[in-house]
Assembly symmetry: C2
Homo-oligomer: 566 residues x 2
């Protein structure tokens, strides 16, 4: 028998209903994913923590939510909203107001655990359909009541924090259905509040559910897939893990219907059009500041999991992995669906953390795949049965030419098991004062190493800070860098540290956001990043759509004055 | 010896410099492409014309351009422009003013041939660089002088007709260089006035011209390729003949720099970004109404003509051709570059007109490929050497499953010879009072036949009217329909006929324009088509960029009052 090793008492109990913890927790109340023993050893080593440090939990947030701030709307206004959406769909209780004003930034989680609540909405409305949304927006525009939308609630940038109070519209409660599958056009008409798994499930079972001839897939699988909605993907410009093949959310949208203070409209269903600047595209990424997405027609693809080909490689260096990836993305033999490369720190930690057999690790170094240098690559190819083997073969060839060791599809399969579950760990880490967060940027090939090195130099200058980086969304012209930070750090320090990283990203030529959107977190950097001329374009659109500044006001996208966060 | 057949005395003489004809003529003055004898026979038969009708040319436009309208700007203003761009780059002579105010609508050609000149600019300026453009725009904004851009001059919608006079900026004179090839990013930074062939030539010869390791291609080959410019492709939302693989001009743009009355800005170089609505996309298709594109970074591709695979098929019916095409575009095995299907009228006429051996035509009917039903398909595949044979093989397989007869790459090669030359024929046809024009629309698969039938029913109701239709730009969600009309018709009748066709396109669910842009030709239908809400978005942008209404004013895009055309 192996000697027993210390294991922290990870929480396995669903948070009590009504508590702060129940709002801060990611995902379903009864789902958990705990750090492995290897994770604990790593954290103890890196952060100088002892077993004792993992014995007392802090700020667990088990208290019941009490707000002590009556809604600022007057009773007649609440009554009017009740008249529109029905009494059962309007809530003013403390818990609802806090829950639907919160998402998943580190700052929110840590504050909630301490019972700190910042700005909240005054009333929560669950519209039954787009007509309810239209009536609420019209009413709020007339009454100058702010309107914020909440749907999946997985955002990481304060995008649905109601800085000016008012109404929060929850779209995921009722407006969550797939309305139509058009097999000829390969499109699906869907309500914005539909969650990823429900959407994908119906598409996969289109023959049974819609009498279709074929099965389909939505092609969009962000890490937050299980707890994010179709509408959220679009208005925040998300990217799924298979975006290299299927495209970003921006690309997957076919047409949209929006309710705005100045009117409701649906963009037209055409595969292309040359009728001036495309309003269909202008609305994407507007993050609730122009209007509310109430229906969307999405492109869909044939569901052919039987053709999927997985691959993984070890490259001798990060530079070799990047060069090979560029060659693959520019090779014009077809693109993989999932494709990821991990920098040396992520690769080495990954090998330790995710149970790659120790034996394999031992043989890699002598073969020239040295710790601190080697880079893991994994992914898959999707599509037609003759297409996927060709692309997989070509990828293997390019990888080999850059010195890679093929590792079969094993690592890719392993990764798939954890593809959606990592965010669950934050709860356990937070219990012991450890912070896990991410920032990400898009970058052209010619600037990738400069950005990677610049951000890492800043992060690693802080002792006891883990920084794992991967690239996971590829284009012929470049990719993204996704930085994961892990440290024992309090909130005060973190907020400053995070701002420092954002500054470094911009200083080294990354975009302010690749797929996390802007919200208020990134808002202060919007104008320095895009320039005054581009910001004024967005502000002109804002003035047009929302003359009374009711749509998600308070700094969203950097359009109006950005309130202090804390 | 074969009996001699009548052949019209086609013009082979370059138009005299300074004449109306020299402006109306398409392409280089000394380049011609005459209708074949088969064309003449077809026209005689269809239009009831005799040899005599092809003996006397009409409205040849050999007169010298005389305008008799002094520039409306005062001398101090012209002097100021001269001070900005240099005396040699400012012209106020009649010929320049007419030449750079005209493009290639049927209406313009026929009117020019009659010596009729509608609205013209007051002064022509050939800016040397983007700083000249900036100074001119600033000056004109202060002085409230309209500014219109002319570049290739191949437009077919009155997009560069200066309805309010003022300054016309000619970008193709000096601002026509490729500035930089970035091999890592596979992008090219280019000035907007660069013509297609010059751009492609430099990219093909990137090793010799820029010391690159590889050769590249621009991927954008519209029929007007030889006489259109990179900037024009973008601001009018053009599509090239290989767009099914490379994408439309909209997709090929990486970043842009614009001079507007409210400032100059360059969008950032990122493969993707989630920083709100994308100003880079908002500017595309603005047709000179927001500002002037002065520099653009384009995506480029590896030039690998050795891998190209051509194909052609005969389908038994148009319906089978459409079904097979949809299957191919949705098959997820990779897309062809060029891909075209011709409806039965175009197919039958094409067989006669383009010299497919008579013997082949004779064997087709008994095999089930009957005149009036059969549909020709042709195209090619571009890309990696292992990708192109796979895609070609898959296309063949799908085509066969839909009853197609493979015809080798012969028809595709033949088509390539004429891919840019068809517009030259208009001069010859106009000489004998025959009108050739085109209209086009994008459409989803589920509406394709309705649109095709609806437009054809209208066109063919007019006796003696040829209507050939093809689809030539494909997407998983649909395609375009490109209608070619040919008739003996005067201008008066044509203008009404054209309006009738546009109405039919909209009535049957096509978009107002797939890749011809809007200009003023389509402007009256913009609001009925897009709806008031979407038009108000475009108008809000217009107000922002151009508060004094100087940028291409007079109905462009339907943004302001649309003047009567004639």
């Amino acid at each position: 028998m192996k000697p027993s090793r210390f294991r922290p008492d990870w929480s396995e109990k669903p948070p009590d209903p009504g508590t702060y913890r129940s709002i801060a927790k990611y995902g379903d109340p009864d789902r958990f994913k705990h750090p492995s023993d290897a994770w604990v050893r790593m954290m103890q080593q890196e952060f100088g923590m002892t077993d004792a440090d993992f014995k007392v939990k802090q700020d667990e947030g088990h208290e019941r939510v009490v707000l002590d701030r009556p809604p600022a709307l007057d009773p007649a206004q609440i009554e009017a909203l009740t008249g529109i959406a029905g009494e059962e769909n309007v809530a003013t209780d403390d818990y609802s107001r806090v829950k639907y004003s919160s998402a998943k930034t580190s700052e929110e989680l840590l504050e909630l655990r301490q019972g700190i609540v910042r700005e909240v909405c005054d009333v929560v409305v669950h519209p039954r359909d787009k007509h309810d949304v239209q009536k609420v927006v019209q009413y709020c525009d007339a009454e100058r009541i702010p309107v914020t939308v909440f749907s999946g609630g997985s955002g990481v940038n304060f995008g649905c924090r109601p800085y000016r109070g008012g109404v929060t519209l929850v779209l995921s409660t009722h407006m969550n259905q797939l309305l139509e599958v058009n097999e000829l056009n390969q499109t699906a008409r869907v309500q914005p509040g539909m969650f990823g798994p429900a959407y994908e499930e119906v598409l996969n079972n289109a023959p049974e559910r819609f009498g279709c001839e074929r099965r389909y897939t939505c092609g969009h699988f962000p890490q937050s897939f299980e707890y994010s909605t179709v509408g959220g993907w679009i208005v925040t410009l998300g990217s799924g893990q298979a975006s290299t093949y299927y495209g970003d959310a921006y690309d997957i949208v076919f047409s949209q219907e929006y309710v705005t203070p100045v009117g409701t409209f649906k963009t037209l269903d055409y595969p292309a059009t040359a009728t001036g600047p495309k309003v269909n595209d202008i609305m994407k990424g507007s993050e609730g500041t122009f209007g509310i997405l109430v229906e969307v027609t999405m492109k869909i693809w044939r569901y052919m999991p039987e053709n999927r080909r997985r691959f993984s490689f070890m490259f001798p260096t990060w530079e070799a992995a990047v060069d090979a990836s560029r060659e693959i993305m520019q090779g014009e033999f077809g693109l993989p669906a999932i494709y990821r490369i991990s920098d040396p720190e992520e690769t080495d930690r990954g090998l330790k953390l995710y149970g790659v057999p120790g034996a394999l690790d031992k043989v890699l170094a002598p073969m020239g795949f040295k710790p601190g240098q080697r880079s893991l690559c994994l992914g898959n190819v999707e599509g037609d049965k003759d297409f996927t083997p060709l692309v997989a073969r070509k990828i293997r060839k390019v990888a080999r030419r850059h010195g890679a060791l093929p590792l079969t599809g094993y690592a890719a399969r392993m990764w798939e098991h954890t593809r959606y579950t990592e965010p669950f760990m934050r709860e356990d880490l937070n219990d012991y004062g450890i912070l896990l967060d991410t920032l990400e940027a898009s970058v052209t090939w010619d600037n990738l190493h400069r950005l990677h090195q610049g951000v890492r130099a800043f992060v690693k200058a802080r002792p006891g800070t883990i920084c794992m980086t991967h690239a996971s969304h590829f284009y012929p012209q470049g990719t993204n860098l996704y930085f994961i930070f892990l440290a024992k750090m309090d909130l005060e320090e973190y907020v400053a540290f995070q701002a420092g990283i954002i500054e470094k990203i911009l200083e080294h030529g990354g975009t302010l956001s690749h797929h996390h959107g802007v919200g208020r977190l990134m808002a202060p950097w919007m104008e320095p990043h895009l320039g005054k001329e581009q910001m004024e374009v967005l502000r002109a659109l804002k003035r047009h759509f929302d003359p009374h500044q009711i749509m998600n006001p308070g700094g969203q996208l950097g359009l109006d004055e950005i309130p202090r966060r804390r």
